[in-house]
């Protein structure tokens, strides 16, 4: 596979569900932790499938599916501490889930109700960034702030803070991401660059974007890079945890390349059958992140059938809640435009608002 470095690749769980040892990385969680990671991945996958279906029902304007990237996102999201701060792309639904954000708040964005309704400070999760790679710079800026707040290297586990910048393989071709690398390295910023290499920048395959595995780019900027099996939730968890701790300890940035695959379309507007082969998809189905975790849980008797049945039922309930919740979302009012931008509204804006209200009232059945 393009851009895969057999020698340095961190994998703790094979595609068939066998545990491996790695000299540098170890997953220390017990069976309960593994079941819990699996549960998150299963529910995140369900959330994603429901959202894709809701878009096809005409309930969402757009959806960016994450199918295939559950292990990368849940592994990364579950490695965070409450004070850590995440800068996501528009596909980090799994990380949002791990940060305790209600999926309905993610869906309201894709329904066009708002631009993101969760509180970034409270959740440690910035609003989605749709501009490719822009958030890498925001993350480094935030990390420099953390540094100046002396919230690294104190040894206090509740104070030391790491920042995560999420982006994809396509974004590594962006100037923003490379500039972020330069600044992070120069200032030893407490940031983890978490690149989900899902092999496709919309229709552009990885091999057209890089002649070397992506993680090796870090070396040129002067910080470590590591390539991890992005479909192995245990390996992602171990590698991310180590990189976050390194950042919190004042060790500076790390680039993690989570080697994964976008099983679905780039967005619901995209048709991947136009540019990629079924064989490739089939090859990646064999490496499915949930299937291998399930195989491991079952063969090692870490979970019984009741666990999986309960999870299915939980997924069904989630689906129902999301469908009903989306349909029940209140349309945004024109007033929000005025009410939510300025803390105090000026006379001029108040006049504009009133004129706009009067205009809207001229429509039959209008509600402001």
């Amino acid at each position: 596979m393009a851009g895969l470095d057999q020698a340095g690749f961190v994998q703790l769980l094979t595609p068939t569900g066998e545990r491996l040892e790695h000299p540098d990385y170890d997953f220390r969680g017990g069976p309960e932790e593994i079941r819990s990671l699996y549960r998150d991945m299963a529910l995140v996958r369900r959330f994603d499938l429901e959202a894709t279906a809701l878009q096809r029902h005409g309930e969402l304007g757009l959806w960016a599916p994450l199918a295939g990237q559950e292990a990368a996102q849940v592994g990364a999201g579950r490695s965070l501490r409450p004070q850590d701060y995440v800068f996501p792309t528009y596909r980090e639904h799994g990380v949002a889930w791990c940060r305790g954000i209600d999926p309905l708040q993610v869906l309201s964005l894709f329904r066009g109700i708002d631009y993101g309704s969760w509180d970034p400070l409270e959740t440690g999760f910035q609003l989605y960034t749709l501009v490719i790679g822009a958030q890498a710079l925001h993350a480094v800026g935030y990390a420099l702030g953390v540094q100046r707040d002396h919230a690294i290297g104190t040894g206090d586990p509740d104070r030391d803070t790491a920042v995560v910048a999420h982006f994809g393989d396509g974004a590594t071709s962006q100037g923003d991401v490379n500039e972020a690398f330069v600044f992070a390295a120069s200032y030893q910023a407490p940031v983890v660059f978490f690149c989900q290499n899902n092999q496709w920048a919309i229709s552009e395959p990885l091999e057209r974007q890089s002649r070397i595995p992506l993680y090796r780019r870090a070396e040129g900027f002067g910080f470590p890079g590591v390539q991890v099996d992005g479909n192995d939730v245990l390996a992602v968890r171990a590698v991310t945890e180590a990189a976050l701790q390194r950042a919190r300890d004042g060790g500076g940035p790390t680039l993690i390349e989570a080697y994964t695959y976008r099983m679905g379309a780039h967005t619901t507007t995209d048709d991947p059958t136009r540019y990629r082969l079924d064989d490739e998809l089939e090859q990646w189905r064999q490496r499915d992140p949930l299937a291998r975790a399930e195989a491991y849980l079952r063969t090692d008797d870490l979970a019984d059938q009741a666990f999986f049945d309960d999870l299915d039922a939980e997924g069904d309930a989630l689906g129902e809640r999301l469908r009903a919740g989306v349909r029940a979302m209140a349309e945004p009012t024109a007033h929000q435009l005025f009410d939510r931008v300025n803390a105090e509204i000026s006379e001029e804006l108040a006049a504009q608002r009133d004129a706009f209200d009067a205009y809207l009232a001229t429509f039959e059945g209008a509600a402001s």
Partner: protein, 411 residues
């Protein structure tokens, strides 16, 4: 309860879609998110999952029909029958204007808006394996011309066999041209049109401008390699990359450094006008004779755009559609005599310009190269560049310096 599923906008800002195929029939019991049909939009083929659970009571759109976003396409109810809900009765849609009830064996298909008679303008789309798409693009085959062997209509690479385009180069020998058949001892042809223009222009130039021609023979192996490289470069997708393009770009560059070659001798004003732009003329043989259309502001173009402009210019000229404005205002001309098999010549300057360059045939020739300080004979791609220039304001040194500049860029 009866629900109607209205055609959603599954893309961003799509207004319509074609219903490709139904996955369900009237009477089927379905769950939420069961796929009910495939639709094809301008962007993709998409499976539509049902927002509702229940029994399919009616399919409101026929396969193959293109309908607007918002049109109800399927009716799903709590019961299998459609008669219980008054809105779902077969009579009511039939009464409304344009509605047609089509009875096809058992399943009742209510066609809400009726089949469209007017042709719907949509981008034609061909189902093809990506490998077949790539191969077709490479071989210049239009997928519209390909008949798929597979029953599902997907074009595969195998279907492309035998669809190769006509051989590009006409390799007839030079004497393999039929002689025109005349009667009588002479034939008188009127001097008019393109011929008249050419005659006036050439005579005016040849007998007022003191022409000097210099030539140099260049090893252009590097140029040939560059052409191959550019063909692989995705910035040049769809651009006809040829040695002519590399030469044209070299001339534009050299004219920056040698502005006199791009100047105008203004006899009336007794001034030499230096022009800080390049309108690059390409001499083109057309069915009606020689014309020299030019590419305006060629110096402002990147090489890919220049390549497109040259291809456009030659294509338009060959079709005889070159407009007069496209032939005026030239500042420098290239005459590509290589395809005619000629090595060099003494070209006549296009009126209003100061120089013209003949691009000779590129042939493999024995060539002396230096390897580790030792002279060796090698087989190289070699061609001759012949430059005629106006000796009133360009002396031999200035003209030669320009030609050496161009030659150095190709070598």
């Amino acid at each position: 309860m009866v629900n109607e599923f209205k055609l959603p906008d599954v893309g961003e800002g799509l207004t319509e879609a074609e219903l490709v195929s139904w996955h369900v029939k009237v009477g089927d019991q379905i769950k939420v998110n069961d796929v009910v049909c495939d639709i094809e939009t301008a962007k993709s083929v998409v499976e539509l999952p049902s927002p509702f659970a229940g029994y399919v009571q009616a399919l409101l759109v026929q396969e193959g029909e293109t309908v607007d976003v918002g049109t109800p396409i399927i009716r799903v109810g709590d019961t299998a029958g459609s008669g219980e809900d008054p809105d779902a009765s077969a009579e009511k849609p039939a009464e409304s204007a344009g509605a047609v009830v089509v009875e096809e064996e058992q399943p009742l298909t209510l066609v809400g808006s009726g089949p469209r008679t007017a042709a719907v303008a949509r981008r034609p789309r061909f189902l093809a394996k990506p490998t077949a798409r790539a191969a077709a693009r490479e071989q210049g085959i239009d997928l519209a011309d390909v008949t798929p062997a597979r029953t599902d209509g997907v074009i595969t690479t195998a279907d492309l066999a035998g669809r190769h385009t006509a051989p590009t180069a006409d390799r007839r020998r030079a004497y393999d041209v039929p002689a025109p058949v005349f009667t009588g001892r002479t034939t008188r042809e009127p001097i008019k049109g393109v011929r008249k223009m050419m005659g006036q222009a050439m005579a005016a130039s040849a007998f007022t401008v003191p022409h000097v021609t210099v030539w140099t023979t260049v090893d252009v192996t590097a140029t040939m390699r560059r052409v191959e490289e550019l063909k692989q470069d995705r910035a040049y997708d769809g651009v006809k990359v040829s040695p002519l393009l590399v030469l044209a770009q070299a001339c534009v560059e050299a004219l920056r450094r040698h502005p006199l070659l791009n100047a105008l001798w203004d006899e009336d004003a007794q001034e030499v006008v230096l022009r800080h732009y390049v309108n690059l003329g390409i001499a083109a043989a057309t069915p009606r004779g020689l014309i020299v259309p030019n590419i305006k502001d060629a110096d402002l173009m990147g090489t890919p755009d220049l390549g497109r402009a040259i291809a456009d210019l030659i294509g338009v000229a060959r079709e005889g559609r070159t407009q007069p404005a496209e032939q005026q205002g030239g500042t420098f001309t290239i005459s590509n005599i290589g395809p005619l098999g000629m090595e060099g010549g003494t070209p006549i300057i296009n009126p209003g310009e100061s120089a013209i360059l003949c691009f000779g045939a590129i042939d493999k020739r024995p060539w002396v190269v230096s390897v580790d300080g030792e002279d060796r004979l090698a087989i190289r791609d070699v061609c001759t560049l012949s430059l005629s220039f106006d000796h009133r304001h360009i002396d031999g040194a200035a003209g030669s310096a320009f030609l050496a500049d161009v030659a150095a860029q190709l070598g």
